[in-house]
């Protein structure tokens, strides 16, 4: 069952940037695209653990700052020659607020 919770204002996330949400199982990066859509992904690149939240956001992709792996934020899949996947979480914007599906967050697996 989905259970969207308010994690903050869209304005708190820089355009083409990201902010973190801390969970018991690690951090989730919440990205904002140039056209104000949001995506939530695990903040760890499967390659060497780079913080995706610090990557450059382009279109609906993000490039890991450590070794330039590129991930499609829709699917969490690595693009191009690289092979890997990061977890994605349902997220949306409503009335300028960012909502994240709490039921999908890793804390439930810990509970």
């Amino acid at each position: 069952m989905t259970q969207f919770v308010d994690i903050g204002a869209l304005e708190d996330i820089p355009v083409q940037g990201a902010r973190l949400v801390r969970t018991a199982q690690g951090c989730i990066a919440v990205f904002r695209t140039a056209d104000d859509r949001v995506f939530a992904l695990d903040d760890r690149c499967p390659h060497k653990g780079g913080p995706l939240s610090e990557g450059i956001v382009h279109g609906t992709s993000v490039t890991c700052p450590l070794h330039n792996w590129v991930f499609d934020m829709n699917t969490g899949a690595a693009q191009g020659a690289d092979d890997g996947q990061v977890g994605t979480y349902p997220a949306r914007v409503e009335g300028g607020r960012v909502l994240l599906d709490a039921s999908a967050l890793p804390r439930h697996s810990a509970a």
Binding site: D12, R22, A24, P65
Partner: protein, 812 residues
Amino acid sequence: MKKKLVIIGAGMASGRMLEHLFDAAPDLYDVTLFNEEPRGNYNRLMLSPVLSGEKTYEEIVTHDAGWYETHGVTCRFGEPVVRIDREAKVVHTNYRSAEYDALVIATGSAPFIIPVVGKELPGVVTYRDLEDTHAMIDAGIAGKDAVVIGGGLLGLEAAAGMAARGASVTVIHLMDHLMERQLDPAAGYLLKKDLESRGIKVHCKGATKAILGHERAEAVLLEDGTVYPADLVCMAVGIRPETRIAVDAKLEVERGITVDDSMRTTDPSIFALGECVEHRQQLFGLVAPLYDQARVLAQTLQGEAAEFRPVQTATKLKVTGCDLFSAGDFADGEGREDIVFRDPGRGIYKRLVLKDNRIIGIVMYGDTADGNWFYGLLKDGTDVSEMRDTLIFGPAFQGGGAPDPMAAVAALPPEAEICGCNGICKGQIVEAVQGGATSLDAVRAQTKASGSCGTCTGLVEQVMQFTLGDDFTAAAPACMCGCTDHSHEDVRRLIKSMGLKSIPAVMQELGWKTPGGCHSCRPALNFYLLAEWPTEYRDDRQSRFVNERNHANIQKDGTYSVVPRMWGGVTTPAELRAIADAADKYDVPMVKVTGGQRIDLLGVSKEDLPHMWADLNEAGLVSGHAYSKGLRTVKTCVGKDFCRFGTQDSTGLGIRLEKLLWGSWTPHKVKLGVSGCPRNCAEATCKDVGVVCVDSGYNISVAGAAGMEVKETEHLASTPSEDEAVEIITAFIQLYRENAKYLDRPYKWVAKVGLDWVIERVVDDLAGRQALVERFELSQSVYRKDPWAAHSTDRERAKWAPMADFTLEAAE
């Protein structure tokens, strides 16, 4: 005994003719070359880039003094021939005479001046040679009004060039649409719109009545009563063959000097070449047929049989960012059919005129990539009935294969023309490559391909790649990244010439293929924009690599390292205490001295960064920019105050340089070293800029490296004065900022442009040097800021922490 060859006119046609002649028969003639212009041969096609400031005269010279000397040519520059005595076979100038066995008249053409009132006023110029170009540049037209009369090729190039120099330009054109000889009305309309979007006014159907003004030109009056203010009026309504000398000599002259197929005039000892000739009732203005004539005449002069057969030529407009292609005949007529493609949203228009299933005319605007392919079909008279359905979409869509540029090049026949300016076909390039020319420069030197207007450079490279296979390494990657077909150099040039002032503007205007660029092009664009428009551009933080966005170096585990600036490597006990306190307070796992004489605090979490900066700021420390594509460190030795060998105050100079240059963004990191004597304890000779102080002053050297490559610096200048040393170094850094490709260290950039070019600008040219320094200071007035101070406020600090925390909830 060598025969005597006299040539009147040192233009592109006669220059090319001499090349052919010396290649084939270097010892056949004693050559004397007269020229009215006080110089030898330069590439007239490139006057537009000189006018717009994209090139200098030196860059367009095709034959320098050394070339003439090597080939034993007697040069009489600035000395026009006034009379030909055909009886005695002698030409006369006002000073001397010269005998000839063979005479070549290559006097070119003169601009046509329309006979209106005011045409002699100062401020009215033509656009034909270097003097005209300089007259326009020297008029200091930035911010002033200019009117160009004539909307043909030359007029539009003059207009775009003056607009690029900041003039407010109006083009007056007599006909219904621009470039009516090359374009149909639809393409002419798009061109007009394109020019108007760059701020150039266009007035079609405008007949000039008079040029108004008393002391000098002030305005242009049209027949319909319109008046345009004009500080400068450029007449570019057309050219006529320069035939006066031939008329006086009683040679047969119609519109031009009449020649036969071997380029011989009605006097068997006299030949004519270039824009001054008329061949079978036809005149020639484009360069390709002139080069054909040059080849034919060179053979004729060797006593070989050769025939000039003019071929169809294609036209391109050399105005940056205007893509236009035209060839053949596109007028309406019996039995002609049109295939037209329009995409108004993108400003693209393509039209093919067909007759009997063969292309006879091509007009393209906005997207001319397939121009040469269509042109090949036109020239070969290929029957296109089979591919008619998809013809307009170009070669990629023929046969249903994926659009592979290499396949298209591979499919071209050997006689397909690659370089239109020089009439070089694929076979000649392949031959040159197989003969050992494996770099673009070598191919250019041997065949001239891509050596004139340069628009075919990509195609030439593709032919080379096709011939060499994996052995080919392009001189530079053709494009910036997968998001665009433009190279870094093109993008920089276009940002400037098109006045693009934001990343979205660049992406929109230059046709980016991705919606938001990528991690490779965005940081480069951000730098190019801030370097070009320091006072207008707003830095885009999200287009910066993580290190610059967070003002610290990211480490492999996602923590950061913090390096406070220590000017010239000098610190104080108080600063050291503050650093030690910060290391304690934020549990820094490692404190290390860097290679550049600074202290590195490793392993700091992102959230702690702004707090730590605030503490360090309080002790007077600012960011060391150890993370930046910008000035890093100035490494020093102890200098004369302490060292028994030290000369000059090298430590003081290092501090002075660091305080001047810090905070500046550059294409890549920049490191300096200042040593107090040739023992070079600061290792200045493997830095981007190194100074070695000696008794007589300061030896400045540049372009060293000690990273992926190890390279000693090269000597830039020596000066007794510390002030001058500082000025030269500042100018060097600014020249690097303005010209280098993003992520090229100075040593790579200097290797590309040549140290001599750099020396000319930052050492020899005093005014140029000072202008560079001024532009650097202007940029610094905006960008020299301590990022730590800006981010250590409470409000900013909050942004460095997570926006939500679910760990507490989970613990319940």
